[in-house]
Amino acid sequence: MTDKLKRNVYLVGNPNSGKTSLFNAITGERRRVGNWPGVTVQKLEGSATTDTASLTICDLPGTYSLTPATPEEEVVLKTIDEAASGCIVNVVDIANFERNLFLTTQLVELGIKPVVSLNCFDSFTRAGGTIDLQKFATFTGTTPFPTVARTGEGTQNLVEYIGKPDVAGLEDYSSWLSLPQVWLNAAEEGLKLKKLHWNSATPTQRYSALVDLIRLQPGHIVPELIEIRQNLAKKLSEGREKPVKTTDLACELASDRYRRIERLIAACAVVPGKNIPAWQEKLDRVLTHRFLGLPVFALMMAWVFWTTFSIGEIPMGWMESLVDWLGKFVEANMQESLIRELIVGGIISGVGGVIVFIPNILILFFWIAILEDSGYMSRAAFIMDRMMNSIGLHGRAFIPMIMGLGCNVPAVLATRIIDNRFQRLLTMLLIPLVTCAARLPVLVLLCGTFFHDNPSTWMFTLFFVNLLVLIFLGQTTSIIFRTTENSPFLLEMPPYRLPTPSSVFHMLYEKAAHFVEKAGTVILAGSIIIWVLSVFPREVPLSFDYESELTRLRSSEITVETTEKIATLTRQREIEEMEGRYMARLGKFIHPVMEPLGFSWRETVSLIPGFLAKESVVSTLTVLYLPYSDDLGDAMRKTGMTPLTAFVFMMFTLLYIPCIATLGVIWRESGSARFTALSLMVYFAIAYIVSYITLKIGTLLQASPGIAWFEGLIIITAALAAGWYLLKTFIVTISGSKCNSCASCSSCPARGKSDCTGG
């Protein structure tokens, strides 16, 4: 059977319509994930075969309408010509019939003949809904298939149908959903300006002709078009008491579409009066209750957090011992060589650095899949939105942010629950500023050493400044970029459903595989690079012939004195070798940059392995400070480190750059190297500036004794607030004080002016 028909099938539909479930049901595991050309939006492709055809199924991003509000949705519009030449399957959630048919209407208007998958058919019939499929097919000119994608029911019929050779892609036919003649005539006139005709135009050309009618595009305003619009408005006004203005045309078209939809549904279906069952309303009343909602959510979050990081520790321990065992095994069974060292120190520990995350990721995504599938995620976002909105984020960003406290890596992966790309990137940008557990050792060590009277107060201060920085960055970024973003905040509340094992499995499989395959490679490569830096050059010129001296001492009589001497010499050699490696050289090379912050070169050097994992900062410091004293704190004090420098160093360690694993996932999840590089620079700049300001304020405070830490804190808060206010005013001023009723209207300096529509 080599002469099978090859066909590209495109799935379009509303978010939450079950598009991805249908995709899973049709393709099973035969899929691959890529990116859409030009944009960094994920492209999901899979294949399916029937007796007659081999199908390539492409899952287009979910959209409510062809008019795009986000880059994801733009993909649908850009692909529509290509899709029209293949086969379009329009997934319609029949339990939410009217709104889902809007997209169908738009497709039909453009002359596309979609195969309609009437999804969630089971809950529709259970609620008492009926539909005459024959009538639906005749009235719309489409081919409907009742499906239940979650269980796979009905999908076989659909696949067999789209595998048939005679499924028409693009042809004009009259349907109840087609454009009324008045609009068609106006669109035809509009197309004439571009020397085109409706009948021969592509769907995209037809679409843009319609858009030209309803909204004047700044940039290409043609006088003829204005006339066409005025005539259209005049024609639409006939027989009405209130004349239609040209600015109302968008509203008119949408109303007209919904009138056609209502007429169609009335003619061929009985839609249950109440879509939402009573028990769901009751459940909703508890879960989003004014007083109960937040505690219930907090409990759930605590549970998810605890299982992810505490239960996750158990399999993580297994993974670690497996890696350990593997390293020891290689060490015992291989000749001592550079290759062995590379395998043990670079590859095995690098792979270990990747797989230790897998238990965390699996557990976290298990809960996320359940929360998402059950419909609770939208309620959680609903509850948290106000708070998250105050730092410019979507309510859904709460879960990734809170997970960041455990580890930034699964947190970045968790941002996939945010469907808006801008919001997702913003959350990704902010997550590394959430103090993960790996940064705690540095804080514990230094706070304990330098502030042993009240280490927790100082730790709190650090966290507080960290939080302020996070809010500052979130606010600034969202204000700068919000003006270009015109997607409204919409939070669909899907009905509660029982999660299916198959969708949970797909989510887990996809996440784990995706993580290992995509981010894993980056993390592994990074680990090897850091390893190379820390062991090369092999031969370091030593200031002193340690080897012969050690041999001499070892062969001599064993006394307390010689043992001590041997230990000192070995230690000194270790340090000299370490200082000679590329890592230390690099540290010393960039040290002048860090010097204004009051760090010694040892601190600078320790920051480099901190890039591999933040825990390494402490272990590197311990090695570097060994010659001065066995006790790290003691050694630091001896070399002239003051509590202030220690505080600044902690500040810097908290903020400077995320570890390589986090960076790896950010790169892969954002799909953009530019974004990753840019955010890296942002973190570094912020860390530097904040540390510098802290140092200066600290020096000032030290000069004037009597001012306690909390006054210092107030000063820092005030400085940040003032900076933020100035920046905001500045941005509002340069953007022509055009207020788009942005996220933070209540605190906006432009508030009260006539152009502020919100607040």
Partner: protein, 83 residues
């Protein structure tokens, strides 16, 4: 018959109204129209979030949460007999 026109953001929790108009100049209005927020459509304010924003609305048989910044764009008409 007494009719009151308010913005959707002012619609009290639990009450029903009819959409009268939508701010055509806002860039977000197109999406709201596409979602079925067209004049003449009945709409119910279901629930305000614990922190006062956003609010869930029921329209055309589904529920959607809107922030104040979106719901102020929509004018609704409350009729006493709607209750």
């Amino acid at each position: 018959m007494v009719r009151t026109t308010v913005t959707l953001s002012e619609l009290p929790e639990g009450s029903t109204a009819t959409i009268r108009d939508i701010d055509a100049l806002s860039p977000t209005s197109q999406r709201l129209l596409d979602l079925g927020f067209v004049p003449g459509t009945p709409i119910r304010a279901v629930k305000r979030a614990p922190m006062g924003d956003p609010t869930t609305f029921e329209i055309r048989g589904y529920q959607v949460g809107l922030r104040r910044s979106e719901s102020v764009l929509i004018d609704v008409e409350i009729k006493p007999d709607d209750r």
